[in-house]
């Protein structure tokens, strides 16, 4: 497997806050998931890797080029696809015009070849039928696919997707998963998400970030395995659990250190993720308190 991104000791400070702290990672061909709570530094890391922000410490290469130099940055941008967290659109452009515009900004200049490529990506993201429609008339899901098409145009070697499934309904999310899985064939995709199911279903590798640092790097199975023997069922919420919630069957699912004789359950990726955050001292309890306590 070819390493597309190799980073060592990346750091970035915003005012008094260290947004990235000694981040080292290696990304290879396929889809890599990036999990982490809000404020973990996911978007900052993506922006640094996408050359939108310069790191103030450490070094990294993308596709063999050093984004720290102007020439290297241009070379990276030439082979980069970037879908930001909240992509903007030019509402009076058609889907075709918008992707074509992005293709030109990627310095694709041969008109016929560029238009073929724009048609190809719009077809790939399932927008062939509406490519002549103005973006203002497209649904949120369709707009998100336009943005993905814009990221995919030019067949980038490195695709950076920042929470692309936020705000999509389940059917649209399923469709997006298909697209991302397809995009990950033969290229490196870094997918930032809050959806652990997305990671479980799509990614061959996963990174967990918290407090500006990488807390876990491995396969989804390895992340899941972190919760092996640490998920159990009970009739009442176990006060010793890091997190616990009532399930549809009426019993409680607890994550943490089980009491002796507890009825152990099969762990999920989310269990491993919660325990990783807890170990990082980022407040799994807080997470439980916010959303998953009974």
């Amino acid at each position: 497997m070819t390493t597309t991104v190799s980073a060592s000791g990346i750091g970035l400070r915003y005012g008094g806050t260290r947004a990235l702290d000694d981040v080292s990672l290696r990304l290879t061909t396929g889809v890599t998931g990036l999990l982490g709570p809000n404020g973990a530094g996911k978007t900052t890391l993506l922006r640094v890797l996408a050359t939108a922000l310069p790191a103030d410490r450490g070094s990294f290469t993308v596709l063999g080029h050093d984004p720290g130099t102007a020439r290297g940055r241009q070379e990276v941008r030439r082979r980069l696809g970037y879908l930001p967290q909240t992509p903007g659109f030019h509402p009076d452009f058609t889907a075709f015009e918008f992707v074509d515009y992005v293709a030109i900004l990627k310095e694709m200049t041969g008109r016929a070849a560029r238009h073929r490529e724009v048609r190809r990506v719009l077809d790939e993201v399932g927008l062939a039928e509406v490519r002549g429609k103005r973006i203002r008339k497209l649904s949120g899901g369709m707009r998100q696919r336009v943005a993905l098409g814009a990221a995919l145009v030019g067949d980038p070697g490195f695709l950076v997707l920042d929470e692309p499934t936020v705000g999509l309904d389940p059917e649209q999310r399923m469709r997006f998963r298909e697209l991302i899985a397809g995009a990950g064939e033969g290229r490196t995709v870094l997918l930032s998400t809050h959806q652990t199911e997305d990671v479980a279903m799509l990614c061959h590798r996963v990174l967990v970030m918290a407090g500006g640092r990488v807390r876990f790097e491995g396969t989804p199975a390895e992340l899941t395995a972190r919760a092996a023997g640490r998920v159990w069922s009970s009739t009442e919420r176990d006060p010793g659990a890091r997190a616990g919630w009532r399930t549809g069957t009426g019993s409680f699912r607890n994550v943490g250190d089980p009491p002796d004789g507890a009825e152990l359950l099969e762990p999920t990726l989310e269990d491993g993720y919660l325990l990783t955050l807890d170990g990082a001292g980022t407040g799994a309890g807080a997470i439980a308190g916010e959303g998953v306590s009974a």
């Binding site: 939108a52 063999g64 515009y101």
Partner: protein, 505 residues
Amino acid sequence: MTAVVEKPVQPSARTEPGGAWAAVLALALLETRRLLTRLPVIIAFLVYVGWTVWRDGKAWGDFPALQDADRATQGAPTLVGLAVLLCVNHAALRSRRHGTERHFAVLVLQPWRRTVAHALSALAVALLVAVCVAAQFGREALRPGAIGQGSVGELLVGPLTVLLLGLAGLLIAGLVRSALAAPLLVVFSLFLFLFFWGTSDAANRWLLPIVTEASSNTLPSDLMGRPAAWHALYLAGLALCVGLVAVLVAGGRKPLVSAGLAGAVAMTLAGGVAQTRGDSPELVRARERATVNPEQAQSCVRRDGSTYCAFPEWGPRVDDWARVVDRVRSLAGGGAHERDVAVRQRIEARYGLSGDGALAPLERPHEVTVGTRWGGNRVPEFSAAVAGVLVAGSEKASTSMCDGRMVTVMWLTVGWESDPLAALRRVRLDDSVTGSALVLQPTDGLYMTDAQTEVLRELLDRPRGEVTARVKAHWDELTAPKVTAARAAELLGVKAPKGDDKCLD
């Protein structure tokens, strides 16, 4: 994970980049297409073209002087320029307005090159306006009787104004990242224009893109004294300055851009200074000579015994003048029927184009003034001057006529026309065909009383041959000083007029 091979990855064949400048051109094409399909630009173009076509039909007619026709192309493109200013500004702020700046910041083509593409889109519209200007001027040049020569410098003013305004919109987008700034600039520009218009005699009027003239005179092109080439250089330099500053503001701090800006500033200064130097002493002398002693600058030809002296550019007009002289003479009787006249082209050029000066009537016998404009009302006006000289003997004498000879003069003036009544209306100052009125001619006007108008109207209702025969038969009495309108009516066989027959004091 297996072995790691890390080496620079080359773009695949599908995404082979074509170079930054090729991308700039591709983006410029896209921006041009979008600019030309923006509603304000479409409306401005429709108004510009519609107004130009309508005005072409109304104002000039045939016989245009090309040294005037070139300036007539300058005003209307300003409307297109203002629309381009707003739309280029809007397009340059597109990413900011729609929140794509963060996204597009990581795309290959740098912001300053995108600014160059916007500048090229303004240039494309300016070129389109140049085509319209060329078509407008070409149409004038191909009209029957077109004379003189246009100036490339004057013709460039319209397109350069559009370019300058478009680039101003781009610069404003770089300096003030608000969509409100450009409309405010438009209002400010209009205010500035009106302010400078009020001080149009000052040399600083040449700092504005379009410099209008107070006079509607047509002068020989070598006496115009408009520094058109310098002004075009000034406008081109100014447009370049504005465009290059916009590129600098967008981050294009390249040696080539800085050098270009230095060159543009030099162009602007050179053009700006040279255009405000005023009239040269040679030009002042040439204008004086053309006004006081036009014969020194004219050449004369003979047609059917009469002499026609014109400035060189008006040579092709001699046949048109001769046709009018022949027709007027054909209606006259006595010696006037065969009378040879000397037609002298005259101008008042001493004030240049800053004011209209009146021409005094000639005192030499049988000499007729013709102006520099022709077609439309100028034809019956010249006809009136010829008729006046044939009847009274000289221009001076004809302008002081105060008797029934005016009936004969006016018959000779309009009697040969295919629509004499329309010609009468055109030659009278108030466009009337009844009552008293001032009759226009190249020098001082003639005066028709109410009674004279009545008699002439009666004549125009009768067969031309019959009236012509009576005029010829009674020529001596009809052209005798002190003849009254009533007596003229009697001699010509029409009923006596009832209206007033008193001249102006």
